[in-house]
Structures are given as structure tokens and as C-alpha cells.
Symmetry: C3
Subunit: 346 residues, 3 copies
């Protein structure tokens, strides 16, 4: 295998990317955010519709994010040209006839299950059926913690990190992993546009995080099982159950006494050196306890800080180049599948 | 029209540029300043003559601005080579015969009306008749306030800002503009090497600045009328008069009760991303009141800070690129004329 | 002569470079250091052997300097792959059969006379006989002061500075030079791979540094005589003796009442804009006085700070380009010889 550590062209434009938490986008203050190198301005109309335009006035390219939101659009506060929700010009000061073909590029937006997705390809090809479902958002048996990281690394390196849980015993031995997980292998199954990965650790001590909230009397059977959706959304089941109860053989086995989580990670390239990382981590226990929401948040962020330090160091190293020739190992199977699928699509 | 927002080659070298206030250039401390990407060192001889040389020793290119001014020249303090006022080598330590053709590039300088102008083209083609006059500098009926801004933007964007006063009601609604100015049009007249622009606002509230120093009982007729001299010097008349007194029809009308200003703005490119912005703002009232000098200075700087924030944001946006295609509007007439004249000369 | 101030290709790879003080390299914490643009990781095995590998894991290029030293090698703490002292892969988690041809680039290291030298060329061509001797390190009649500077300049400019002592009266008039040294010439003798330079100042006041430790009643005969070894190691004798005692004519003359120093400067390019500068300055007086060790250290660092400021300013100037054409002077003889020798080898 000879895939480069940093692909030349890894970003799919014909895809939905998580762009912002819905609460970040208001009718009061424009939000500037960069996705795939495009600078966007996000705002809401008076009717509540979320809008994404390129963050450029179609007059002389001043940023609209320094403009003023009005009921039906946004006005550039340099020379006062105003644009509507699909980027069309609504008004030019001292020029009553307007301008027939002056418009700002617009980007389709969809708000769903607590995520706000932007389509970075040609607007006419935006296919909303490709947006993943997150039923946990509407299920009272699950309670969410959520967060965001701004990672100074190429999105593909952040994705690699999630696609290979073999790093857990080395990067996270004292948080969400444990050293006893090192020698377990992973079952990897290619999907049409993604991959499924199942990693079980049988009869091991629980990770520090799971032990602290699950208080297991002895060893556990723990798991990380996820589906990866191209280009970069992970939907993960994880948990720990008392060993020997057969959690792995569900539905036949029992998850009595187990703790379970569902996690969605949405990776959005800002540019070739930065990644937006949005995550929600639902749990199936103590769902009405806000303190537990904080505990889960802190534990996840502590582990992600460990990943971030390593991935950013790797990014800097790769950017600087190397004499050493990298070789794939068995644990790279899932990330290799995803990189090949993306390379094929790009 | 398809002029790019940032021209590829916009800098005229065969031109005079304001390089420093005369008081900045002394016989004690060399002054380093960069113009059109050239690093200059400025100093005075014992006789008081201002000198501009390239800020490079002709031995091994150490900066002369870290050297020592002597009565007839400047000595590099790395290996002690000394150069005279036209860049010729005067002395090499331990080498009595000197060096026949060792010299530093020199730049013609002219001190006039409180400005210090440098010629960036071939020295032999420097034509001092092209330097603008500033008679207000010698007229006791006028009193100056002056200032400097270091703008992190291409000079052409700073020039655009001055060439279109349509931005006043949007960028400066609470300082030197007012929202009621938005719908007035501008008369634009091309000159041989420049443009004349006349913008009148009839029967409007005075801007906050003019009202604070003019204390008008009612609406005013206000004006911004300037001549632009290639490449980037603006000579501007502005003022406010009680409405209906016919200020616009001068000499027939009356400017009784008016306040008048004359302003010179000299824009000097440091490089493609930075601009030196020198300005003097003369007034025709309270000329002996130093407090008024401060008030005018503060008001102008407050307005220019608003411009600077917008122009620097525009510069960053343009540098990052855009999908949106910019279109000219009617208000761009003057800046389009200037850009075409410069493009022709370059 | 038309050698550029900054050569395009000035770095010899087939050479030994001082990489770190031996005490910086331990079995506890990996040391990251960049040489000739290559990122190295340095550590010791449990047996005490110093090892230099490229600072890249051969799996996915994460930096080994964030890894963990084990008794026989270093383990990457991303996915746990482990490498031995010559860069060979020792272990891959969950992959018992290992990987036959997975290895990190290694660099030969030699520890000698208080220096740690790395060979940057092909390992098989490393010739340890080319490493210079420093007998002063083992001679009780000499006592060392030592230090390190990280210079933000191309190594060739730092080398130029050492190769022309004509800068002493201009850069160091109040530290290690004196203005009376300006008019003395230098005898320059090419060697096979280097140059010998002899510079004597007869009947002059001692430099401030030498006067402060030598307390001479009158003028001195002072000297700077060195051998330069390609690419960038200087071995320098310097000192001051009471004038007229014939120090210059040694062995016939007398150095009674003289103070003598031996200095080794080892310049190691970090990259094209940064240089590692290691130095040891031995003295032959008050060798058992630790306070004198500090005094020498402070005096040398004060002088080197003056050089550093000038060389970094020169580096910035050269990087920005120049209209002025640099010309060689007589004092450039030694540096010209070295540059020509290096150009021939590269």
C-alpha cells in the first residue's frame, strides 16, 4: 500500500459537513466560519431560516460577516449593498435600478437532529437523504454531552485517529483506554460509502472513565463499534459490561449492569491545516442528572485533548517531510478502506 | 468592467511618494522605512541635507540603519565601510586605496511644504515640478492637524476607500458621515493624471464631527470635493454651511457661518500588504486654538480607524480569494478612472 | 568575485556536525533537534549509548520525540510501534509477526572531547578520523567556559562573521575588540579543507575584556589566530601579552605576563534560517577559580550577543533582497576561500 500520509486531494466537495451548532446562528450577529477553504457567513432571517453565503460582498469583496443582518437578508457595511437569503442583490445605495446579475455564492443548509449541515458542492446536487440520522437526539432514554475542538491538523489525520482504536492503550491509558486493550484485534467490514469496525476487549479492567461512572466490581467486556460515513462522520457505540454476561452476543447475551454510550463525531475541514471537530456523546444512564452530563463532558474532552496533542504533532511532522518511509500495519485496515473510497470519489 | 480588486502591478515607480515627516529624519539616528518593497535608510548630513539610500551596505548587505551617521555620510557598523550622500564609498578600513565602483543605491529626496517626497524611479528622471503644492502650509488663515496610519492593506484598497465617498453613511454614520448622505450622487471628472470628484449633500443634518465644532442651528449643505493626483495623493475640500445660503454656488453664494477644511492624504505603498498613510487636515476657524487642533486630530483619527478596520478586513478577504464574482456599481466611477490611468502608466 | 551573500546550496551533508552537549542526551527524555532541515530524536540506551534517529515513526510519521525510551530502543506513543538503536522495528502491537522492512533512518553519532558529533551523510561513509581533536578538554592547564546560541540566520553568515575579525573594532569596540585594531591586516593561508588566519595587533590598548582579566600596565600585543575546518568548525588561539615581549615571535619571544585562550566554535545549520552555535572557551590562568569561569562566560556571551544582533539583521536584509550590488573587500579573503572550498565540495 502506498497511500501518502497526507493525501493531495482529500476533500470531497459533494458532501454535507457539520458547520455550526444551530444555536450559534442567529438573526443578531453574523457568524464567520471557514469550511474547505471557503469563507462562509451564517445568519438567520427574521423568519428563523438559517442562511449560508460566501463571506464576500459581490461589490468589492468586503466580508459580509462585518455587515448588518436585516429582516430579509444581510447588508454589507462598506458601501451598503444588500443581499437576500439566496445571495441575490436586493439594494444598491444611490442606484435605484439595482444590478441584474450581482450575487453572492450561497450554500444549502439543513438543520436536523441538533446538527446544522452545509452542502459544499453544486447547490442543485444537494441530496438531503444523505444526511445521517441521530435518533438519540429525540429519545428520552439517552442524554447528551457535547463539545467542539479546533484542531490544527489536516482532517484526514483526525479521521485516521478515530478509524484506528489501536491507539487507545498508548494515547489514553489513563482516560478512555487501558493498557490491557493493546493486544485485541479489530473486525473491519467495508460498506458502500464507509466502513464498519468492531473492537471488543474481553475480561479486562474497565478504562478509568468507565470505571469511574460504572463502578464495576471486577473485569468487564468492553467495546468500540462504529459505522463511518464518508467523508468524515463517525457513529459509535461503546460501553462496558461485567465480564461473562455475554454483552458481545447481544441480543442473546445480557447487558444487565452495563453502561452504554452513543457518540457522533463530525469532522469538517476548515482548510488543509485545520479541522472543526463537533461531537455529541449520549449515555443511557443517569439521564436526568446534569452533573453526570458534566462528568461525561470532562472525560471526553480530557481524552480528546490527548488525541489533539498527538495528531497536531503528527501533522507538523508530516508537513515538515521525512526521510523515513512510512509502512502500513494491520491496524490500518479501516483507515485504508476509507482513504481508498475517498480517493475514488475525489 | 473587469478590473481585479487587487491589481497585479499597481505600483508606479516613476513617482514621488511621501516618505516621512521632515522631523523624523535627523543627523543623530538613521530612520529605516520601506517603500514599494525597497528598504530605505534616511538621515541628514551635518549640513542638514536629507538623504535616502538603500538600507544595505555595498560590502555584504548589512543594514545601514544599524550604522552610524557621520558628518558627510553613514558608516556601516559591521566592518566599518563608509558611504556618502549619493551612496559613494568614502572609506574601507585597512584598505587605503578604497574600491572604485562600490556604491549604495540612492533615492532623490525633496522637502517641501512640510512633506518629504522620495522618487522611486530612475534618479535621472526625477521631475520636481510634479510634486503637488500645499499653500495652506504657509497661510496663517489655516491651521493644521496631522497624523499617520500604518495600514495592513494594499495601497489600492486604501485609495479606493478615499475615491468613493459613498462609504461615509455606512462606515462613518456616527463620525464624519451621516445616514442621510446615502442617496446623493457624485460628479466625477477625469483629469490628465487624476480625477476630480464633487459630492454635495443639500439640506441634511451635519455629521457628528462638523456639528460638534460648527454648532449649526439646523440642517446644512455639506460637501466633499477633491482632486486626486496619480498615483495616490488626494487634495480635498470639505465643509458644512447652513443650508440655503448657497455655499454650493460659490463664488455667488455665501459661506457665511460655514466651517471649511483642506485635507491632503498621501498614500505610500510599503509593500503589497502594507500602506503608509500620511495626512494633514487644515481648518479655517479657531486657528490659534491648540485645543481645536487636538479635537480635529481626534475626530479624523476616529473616522480613519473605522476605515482602517474595514479596509484591512477587505484586504484579508481579497487575499484569501473568492468564489463570488465582484461587480462594479455606479459609485465606483472615480476609482475605476484612477485604476485605468495607473494600469496604462504601469 | 561574484559569490552570492547567501549561497543556494551551502550545506555539506558528508560532514560531522556538533549536535548536542553530551549531557543533553539521556535515557529518560528524548531530545528533539533539527540539523540541516532533518528532525532528529536523540536518546541513550540503558547501556549508555547515544542514539540519533529521524524523529519520525516508520508507521505514520508521528514524532518519536513524543515517545517513550525503553532499555533497548524507543516506542512511539501513538500506536505503540517500537524501534531499536539502528532504527529497526522491534515490536508492533497486535501484530506478532512484525514487519520485515520497517525502519527509521538512523544517523551515526560520536562522543569525543566533550562534543557529540552527528554524521549527516550516508551512514556507511562516516569517517571518524575527520573529527577534530580538542586536547584542551583533557589538559589540567586549561579551564573551560562554554555556551550555546540559537541564531536566526543562515549558517554561512555566522561563519562569515567568524572568518573576518575585521569586524571586531566596529561590532565589539567595548567588549572583545578595540577601535585601535581597525587598521591591522590579516595573513590568510589556505589549507586543504579549511583556512588558517593570523591577525596581530602590535602595541595597542588591550580590549576591555582582556584588560579586565589581565590588568596590563600598558599597551599589549594581541592576537587572533585560527584554523577553520570545513564546513564550520573554528579552532582559535587568542590572547594579549605586554607589548615588546615578542609574543608574536614565539617560540623565540616570550609570553611572560600574557593571558591565553583556546576557543572552539562549532556551527551547525538547523535549516536555511537558523544556526546552532556551540562554543567552548578555555583559558590558561586561574584555572581553579570558578568565578573566573563565570567572568569569561559572561564576556564571551556579551560579545556574541553583539555579533548575533548584527548577523540576524544582515540575514533579514539579505532575505528581503537588494538593489545594491555587494562587492568584496580585502578583508573578505578568508571567507572567500572557505566559500569556494565548500562550493566545490557541494
Amino acid at each position: 500500500m502506498s497511500l501518502a500520509i497526507l493525501p493531495d486531494k482529500f476533500f470531497l466537495r459533494d458532501a454535507w459537513y457539520m458547520v455550526a451548532w444551530p444555536s450559534e446562528v442567529t438573526a443578531q450577529e453574523p457568524l464567520a466560519r471557514t469550511v474547505l477553504g471557503d469563507d462562509l457567513v451564517l445568519f438567520r432571517t427574521a423568519a428563523g431560516e438559517a442562511v449560508a453565503l460566501e463571506d464576500r460582498c459581490a461589490h468589492r469583496l468586503a466580508p459580509l460577516s462585518k455587515g448588518r443582518i436585516e429582516s430579509d437578508g444581510i447588508r454589507c457595511m462598506y458601501h451598503g449593498v444588500k443581499f437576500g437569503a439566496v445571495g441575490q442583490c436586493l439594494e444598491i445605495p444611490a442606484q435605484p435600478q439595482g444590478h441584474p446579475n450581482m450575487c453572492v455564492r450561497r450554500y444549502p443548509l439543513v438543520e436536523k437532529d441538533g446538527f446544522l449541515w452545509v452542502w459544499m458542492g453544486i447547490p442543485e446536487q444537494a441530496d438531503t437523504t444523505k444526511i445521517i440520522d441521530a435518533p438519540w437526539a429525540h429519545d428520552p432514554r439517552w442524554a447528551p454531552s457535547q463539545g467542539y475542538l479546533h484542531v490544527h491538523a489536516h482532517m484526514s489525520l483526525v479521521a485516521d485517529n478515530l478509524l484506528d482504536f489501536g491507539h487507545l492503550p498508548f494515547v489514553h491509558p489513563n482516560t478512555v483506554g487501558s493498557v490491557q486493550q493493546a493486544d485485541f484485534s479489530t473486525q473491519v467490514t467495508p460498506l458502500t460509502e464507509g466502513v464498519q469496525t468492531d473492537r471488543w476487549y474481553i475480561d479486562v479492567p474497565a478504562s478509568r472513565f468507565h470505571q469511574s461512572v460504572g463502578r464495576f466490581p471486577g473485569n468487564v467486556d468492553a467495546w468500540h463499534c462504529f459505522r463511518w460515513h464518508l467523508p468524515a462522520v463517525m457513529s459509535l457505540d461503546s460501553g462496558s459490561a461485567p465480564t461473562g454476561t455475554g454483552a458481545r452476543d447481544k441480543p442473546h447475551g445480557s447487558r444487565e449492569g452495563a453502561i452504554e454510550f452513543h457518540h457522533i463525531a463530525a469532522l469538517t475541514p476548515q482548510d488543509e491545516d485545520h479541522t472543526h471537530y463537533f461531537w455529541i456523546h449520549w449515555r443511557n444512564f443517569e439521564v436526568d442528572n446534569p452533573e453526570m452530563t458534566d462528568i461525561v463532558h470532562r472525560n471526553i474532552m480530557a481524552a480528546f485533548a490527548e488525541d489533539q496533542a498527538m495528531v497536531e504533532a503528527q501533522h507538523r511532522a508530516v508537513r515538515r517531510g521525512a526521510q523515513t518511509v512510512p509502512k502500513a500495519i494491520m491496524a490500518d485496515k479501516a483507515l485504508t478502506i476509507i482513504r481508498q473510497q475517498v480517493a475514488k470519489r475525489v
